[in-house]
């Protein structure tokens, strides 16, 4: 006697909820596939795994389609085996489905555009993700990020004070850089033209892009603000398929724009953020938008077109190529504007092939960067992107998406391509021509020789308090006269010496990394700025040096021989004698972040992705140590 199969409660719910999610677009896509196989080679997973049909878009789609056929279509209900209709019964069935919809597809929509029948697999793959998430079957990373976005309002768990602190820090950096104390990053200012929303990754790993955007707004004379809350333009609902989360996150942002009475929401460069906020959000939140929304790419382009900012492309001389984010291009039609902008701010632009709507995914789409269990597979699929990049011969790849920055960086590192990744905002800021402030030359006001005997070396403050002579606003801010005595010799005009040069004097830093070149680089830069450096090549050495030298800061690579770095980190944090120790993670393996951030101890004070350049290193180290003070 055949035994009746029992279906688990979760499986039951998945099937039942599928019925509520079905709409005509999805039903059309679920019924129209003829298994012609034309879409097969459009998927980067297929190209990277030759001979394995389980990566074919239609094969993956059938894992979802079989449920529809079995429970909602005609033939499949009567003779399921005839049309490969099937159901899900157990937790294992759901887990298997999870591995397909989260681990084998980045929802890049490339197969959609290559299907003669118009089957939009990416859309119903997202639906399937949502169904699984609704019963708690999801990759751990998806659960963590969703929780952060539900509870803290942003997907990286950035605390409000850290966010505001970062804005303040960037404001100061900008004031220093532009030698203009009036430059500001306004927060919660009402009645501005622009409210600028960002990706939390910018706060956590790339604050420079906030400063760059602020610099551009400042140069354009824009009336703008950033919100103190509702500032995260990204939306994990897009990746997890959770429309409720999507709607809630989008609504927070929209309501903030209305509260501040801004007339335009500008979304920093982020593919999924742009798509979620600009396109899907109004649907998820059932919100009719009473203000304009645009990508910052369009904003920057408009400023140049309108003559509000001036750029000098000769400042960006490297050979650059452009990577179209799937969400920007294949889901929002953002094709030409980034290219137009790129050509205005760069001297050498080389197109990548294929491009625009036919570009391949960076491998980090669909939230893949948060699902570490699929990382090896993701990196394997990156061979397609790596080949594309290599072909261009470019030194720099530009993209308008933070997710793509991470995805591309990973691919570049894995395939050792040595290409730098950047965004348009960084290039525009670099090319920006800021009208020189009129600084009255010191000798015109107080001829040096009248004050300082030429041969004598005299600290500046003994010679002339500059502020007595030159109005404050005309003095470059970096001349921290009282703090940095400048020796004047040979009758030359005093050289402006930045306070940075001395800023690490007296600081003790342990540099822990198993790559000798990396250690040398970090140590040299920090030593050149006055720090005392100790070098460690393993976790144990780092631990020992930290306990012995009681440094102010430890820079920590996440992948070193010997003891697990996560364990080392936890031991350091739990050591009462090292309460003051600041830690900055510097890693080339972002997927290992879990090792540190998943621990229930205080998180590191800083994080940097390799490769690190001198400017970024100093900026971050100074910030961390400044916080320590």
């Amino acid at each position: 006697m055949s035994q009746k199969k029992e279906r688990s409660q979760k499986a039951e719910k998945v099937i039942e909820r599928m019925g509520q999610k079905l709409n005509r677009q999805i039903v059309g896509s679920l019924t129209a596939c003829v298994h012609c196989g034309m879409c097969t080679e459009s998927c980067h997973y297929v190209l990277a795994n030759p001979g394995d049909p389980t990566y074919a878009p239609a094969y993956k789609a059938d894992k979802i389609r079989k449920l529809f056929k079995r429970h909602y279509d005609w033939t499949g209900r009567v003779i399921p085996w005839w049309v490969k209709a099937d159901s899900v019964w157990t937790e294992e069935d759901l887990e298997e489905l999870k591995d397909t919809v989260f681990g084998k597809c980045t929802n890049c929509r490339r197969c959609t555009l290559n299907c003669p029948m118009g089957v939009d697999y990416a859309t119903f793959n997202r639906m399937a993700r949502g169904l699984l998430v609704s019963v708690g079957v999801q990759p751990e990373g998806v659960a963590v990020v969703s929780k952060d976005q539900w509870e803290l309002g942003n997907q990286m768990g950035v605390l409000k004070e850290d966010y505001l602190d970062t804005l303040e820090w960037m404001e100061e950096e900008l004031q220093d850089e532009l030698e203009d104390p009036s430059v500001a990053i306004p927060v919660d200012k009402s009645d501005c033209t622009v409210m600028y929303a960002i990706n939390p990754r910018e706060v956590k790993y790339d604050p420079r892009s906030i400063a760059d955007a602020a610099k551009i707004f400042h140069a354009a004379g824009e009336s703008w603000t950033m919100p103190s809350e509702g500032w995260d333009q990204t939306n994990f609902g897009l990746f997890s398929g959770d429309d409720a989360l999507g709607g809630s996150v989008a609504r927070r942002l929209y309501e903030k724009v209305i509260e501040l009475n801004a007339s335009r929401l500008v979304i920093s460069e982020c593919g999924h953020g742009y798509r979620s906020t600009r396109c899907e959000g109004p649907n998820w939140a059932a919100f009719d938008i009473p203000f304009e929304m645009e990508s910052s790419v369009l904003t920057m382009l408009r400023y140049i077109r309108e003559g509000r900012i001036k750029v000098d492309k000769s400042r960006n001389t490297q050979l650059v190529t452009f990577h179209d984010s799937c969400n920007n291009a294949r889901s929002c039609g953002l094709f030409e504007e980034p290219r137009e902008l790129l050509n205005l701010v760069c001297e050498n632009f080389q197109e990548m092939y294929p491009n625009r709507a036919e570009n391949y995914c960076c491998t980090g789409g669909g939230g893949a960067m948060s699902m570490s269990e699929y990382t090896p597979n993701r990196l394997k699929s990156g061979v397609v992107k790596a080949d594309q990049l290599k072909e261009t011969g470019a030194e720099v790849v530009v993209t308008s998406c933070h997710n793509c920055v991470d995805g591309l960086s990973d691919v570049i590192r894995h395939y050792e391509l040595g290409i730098e990744v950047t965004q348009l905002v960084n290039l525009v800021a670099n090319a920006l021509v800021i009208e020189e402030k009129i600084v009255v030359p010191v000798e015109e006001v107080v001829p040096v020789e009248e004050v300082v005997p030429v041969e004598e070396v005299v600290p500046v403050e003994e010679v002339v308090p500059v502020e007595e002579v030159v109005p404050v606003e005309e003095v470059p801010v970096e001349v921290a006269v009282e703090e940095v005595p400048v020796e004047v010799a040979g009758g030359e005009v005093p050289e402006v010496v930045s306070a940075d040069a001395m800023s690490l004097a007296g600081r003790v830093i342990v540099v822990a990394d198993d790559e000798p070149d990396q250690v040398e680089f970090l140590a040299t830069v920090l030593e050149d700025h006055g720090a005392t450096i100790y070098r460690a090549a393993t976790g144990d050495e780092a631990l020992e040096l930290a306990r012995r030298e009681k440094p102010d800061l430890l820079t920590l690579d996440l992948h070193m021989p010997g003891r697990d770095v996560g364990e080392v980190f936890e031991m350091l944090r739990e050591d009462p004698e090292l309460e003051e120790l600041k830690v900055c993670v510097i890693t080339g393996r972002p997927e290992l972040r879990k090792l540190i951030y998943d621990r229930s101890v205080r998180p590191p004070e800083g994080y940097l992705d390799k490769p690190v350049d001198e400017e970024r290193l100093l900026l971050n180290v100074r910030k961390i140590l400044e916080l320590a003070d």
Partner: protein, 222 residues
């Protein structure tokens, strides 16, 4: 002509067509009962792409082999796909010409044209069966319905090819088989993958509308 052949050419076909139409109407009603989904967002992308343009582009997509990488790179596949579908249309037309306008087939040109189209479609059908059964990817995708539908069509082409001259001098088995297969084909279609052409306009309509609104259609590439 035997009475059975006459019945197959007329009554049976009429019943089969009536069945097909009825089931299709029910099917369309079933489809339209799902919510349409909407797009509240203001348009994105280039100003000249609109939902309307997107819809027309989407419908016409299949006739523009250059528009999709999949067809551009597999031009031969696209051509054979085209001929195969022309063969289906010719074979259906034949099932109406023989009973209702046999005079048309007195023209040698018309007979030859139909035989070329249907004969080529038959050969393509054979290659498709080989492709489906022989290719690792295609095998993994295929269901019994996929094989059956393809074999059914190919065999139907074969008998349609033999029936084009509408001759019974050497017996009427070929004509009888052709009409019986046509009737079966019409009745089976709504339950098989062959009904894809019913969904095609809808699926493409909605995709075109969304992608047109978002400035993705017409597709841009460099």
């Amino acid at each position: 002509m035997s009475e059975f052949l006459h019945f197959s050419e007329h009554t049976l076909q009429e019943v089969a067509i009536a069945w097909l139409v009825t089931v299709y109407i029910i099917r369309v009603i079933w489809f339209l009962r799902f919510k349409p989904g909407g797009d509240r967002q203001p348009a994105t992308g280039a100003a000249d792409t609109t939902p309307r343009r997107g819809i027309f582009y989407s419908w016409g997509n299949i006739f523009m082999p250059w528009a999709m990488e999949s067809t551009r790179r597999n031009l031969l596949m696209w051509i054979t796909f085209g001929i195969f579908h022309v063969g289906v249309t010719a074979s259906i037309a034949l099932s109406l010409i023989i009973p209702y306008g046999p005079g048309l087939l007195e023209s040698a040109f018309v007979v030859t044209l139909f035989q070329i189209l249907i004969g080529t479609a038959f050969l393509i059908g054979v290659t498709r069966i080989i492709r489906r059964a022989g290719g690792k990817y295609m095998r993994a995708l295929s269901s019994p319905d996929d094989y059956f539908s393809l074999i059914l069509l190919t065999v139907w082409f074969f008998f349609a090819f033999l029936s084009v001259p509408n001759q019974t001098t050497n017996g009427e088995t070929h004509l009888l088989t052709y009409f019986l297969l046509t009737a079966f084909f019409l009745m089976y279609v709504p339950f098989s993958k062959i009904s894809h052409y019913l969904y095609y306009p809808f699926t493409r309509y909605y995709l075109g509308k969304t992608l047109g609104h978002r400035g993705v259609y017409p597709v841009q590439r460099g």
